[in-house]
């Protein structure tokens, strides 16, 4: 449909150096489409945190970004271990990241809270053993 566009990104698991590539890419595309700087920043922070989460916990996944003039929807899907307790996971500072990840400076327990903070809507669907899908919306 005119005035709407979807982008799909595959997030490579186990690769910290490439984590964040989709976020950099979407930033350029949103800039080209003339979105305001604060919207671009919120989308890029939410995407980046999501990408890092999928790399740390789920061996990668995918990101779909639906762009329309008044809102940007981000859907992050993985087939990782799932989140046991979503309420707990949403608490600042709560993390299940292993020590080797923490030694890299990740796993501060701010990923999900930041995604919520920087977006207008956020919904998590998760099933232990099956995977997690996160729906986020940033209004323009």
């Amino acid at each position: 449909m005119a005035g709407e566009i979807n982008f799909h990104f595959d997030i490579d698991g186990g690769n910290f150096t490439s984590a964040g590539e989709a976020s950099v890419r979407i930033k350029k595309l949103l800039r080209d489409m003339g979105f305001p700087p604060d919207v671009i920043r919120r989308v890029s922070v939410a995407m980046y945190e999501g990408e890092i989460n999928m790399v740390i916990h789920a061996n990668g996944g995918s990101a779909d970004v639906n762009v329309s003039p008044d809102k940007i929807e981000i859907i992050l899907a993985d087939s990782g271990p799932g989140i046991k307790n979503i309420e707990l996971a949403m608490q600042e500072g709560y993390s299940t990241a292993p020590d080797n990840i923490r030694s890299l400076g990740f796993g501060a327990g701010m990923g999900l809270p930041n995604m919520k903070r920087y977006t207008d809507e956020m919904r998590i669907e998760s099933e232990v053993g099956r995977g997690t899908t996160i729906y986020m919306t940033v209004n323009v």
Partner: protein, 417 residues
């Protein structure tokens, strides 16, 4: 952005239309059209990367000549600290400064002196509450323009203080008029001795200030030989320099940041590295830092394309020059408030040159077209079409500046059929 006078320019007769510059331009400002490069003025940030890369010396920096300013009664030289690293076997920078006077300048004001003042102002400013974190240095004009174009959400993170070149020019003018009461501001001409095209372009198109107090920019490599011969004839140079270690250190990457008395800083150099850092700052992963210093050139200002010497050699020379210097020769008492006159007088605005349309609905529709065209391209990013990547070609096609036939791979496939 109209009437923007760039320093980086192209000599069409030398350009072979190769793809070196288009692929490495950090703002995708260059295309090859009709066999030679074309620079999109709105996107060029005068970083000088293409000058460094061009194997045929077709990219050049425009700069001013000293002779063009001969009508002025009083001429002040503003040497960049990078100039000090260009000469071998120096005990002090005084011989360089004295030689500048012998080249026809009436006075010299060291940019490194103003840099020490900027350091003092920054130390004070950074303590203010509620500032965006991290603050990003605004001393490199190529970085400031890069942020305005590619990282508009970080414009507010830029340190809103005048860069050393501007503060130096304003102080130099005030000083000259104080010493020579017969002079009026219009009699005075301030010329910056520049290590790079970005700062020459800054003089013509300042960022953060309405109008620069600098009249023109000379190139270090243009004045170098004249300076060197004057320096050879000098026996006892006048003691002119008023700079310490901090001022000299501004010539290289990290010099500005390390002087801030905080260990929460990062210094990156080389435009590609700076872009990676800015992407991370935008992702929100660097909020524990207080200050980010970015220099478009590798090594910092000593890496600018208008220098004579290899940047690493220049850095080594600066190291031996600063050996006997005090840490700083320019301090401001703590009790003195941060004057408004050292701040930017205009806001830095984002540069929307990249936007496909000012109407978002239309821009999205164009982006759909771009993505459709892009899917049909070979994704080799070979540059043969004259655009830096397949995606950039798709953008150019939708903008009406190129055609699908520019893709040599697809053209050959069609011919073979």
């Amino acid at each position: 952005m109209l009437n923007y006078k760039h320093s980086v320019t192209l000599d069409v007769t030398r350009c072979k239309g190769c793809t070196n510059c288009i692929k490495r331009c950090p703002t995708e400002a260059i295309r090859v059209r009709n066999g030679h490069a074309v620079i999109t003025e709105e996107r060029c940030i005068d970083c000088g990367e293409c000058i460094r890369l061009c194997p045929y010396q077709a990219k050049k920096a425009r700069y001013d000549s000293f002779e063009a300013f001969s009508d002025y009664k009083y001429k002040i030289a503003l040497p960049a600290p990078a100039l000090y690293g260009q000469f071998a076997d120096l005990d002090s920078v005084d011989s360089i400064l004295d030689a500048l006077l012998r080249c026809g300048f009436d006075a010299v004001y060291e940019v490194s002196k103003a840099a020490e003042l900027v350091t003092e102002h920054t130390r004070r400013y950074i303590k203010r509450k509620g500032l965006p974190k991290p603050l990003i240095s605004s001393a490199c004009p190529a970085i400031v323009r890069l942020i305005a174009l590619r990282f508009p959400s970080l414009v507010d993170n830029l340190l809103p203080l005048m860069p050393p070149i501007e503060l130096a020019a304003r102080n130099a003018r005030a000083e000259a008029m104080e010493r020579n009461p017969e002079l009026s501001d219009d009699d005075i001409c301030v010329l910056f001795i520049s290590p790079c095209p970005a700062k020459i372009s800054y003089i013509k198109n300042p960022v953060g200030v309405q109008k620069s107090a600098v009249n023109g920019g000379l190139a270090i490599n243009d004045i170098y030989f004249k300076l060197r011969s004057e320096m050879k004839n000098l026996k006892d140079p006048k003691l002119i320099s008023e700079t310490g270690i901090i001022g000299l250190n501004w010539a290289g990457s990290g010099g500005e940041a390390t002087s801030l008395l905080s260990d929460k800083y990062l210094a990156a150099d080389g435009i590609e590295n700076c872009i990676k850092v800015l992407d991370e700052v935008e992702n929100g992963t660097m909020h524990e830092l207080e200050f980010v210093e970015l220099n478009a050139c590798i090594g910092g200002c000593v890496g600018g394309t208008l220098n004579v010497e290899n940047p690493f050699v220049a850095k080594a020379r600066l190291r031996s020059l600063r050996k006997y210097l005090p840490v700083s020769q320019n301090t401001i008492p703590d009790s003195e408030a941060l004057g408004e006159d050292v701040f930017y007088d205009v806001d830095i605005e984002e540069n929307p040159a990249a936007a496909l349309s000012s109407d978002r609905f239309e821009a999205i529709t164009k982006m759909r077209e771009i993505e459709e065209i892009y899917q049909g391209l070979p994704h080799l990013d070979c540059g043969s079409c004259g655009a830096p990547s397949c995606h950039a070609l798709a953008e150019d096609i939708v903008r009406g500046e190129a055609s699908i036939d520019n893709c040599i791979i697809r053209l050959r496939e069609r011919a073979e059929k």
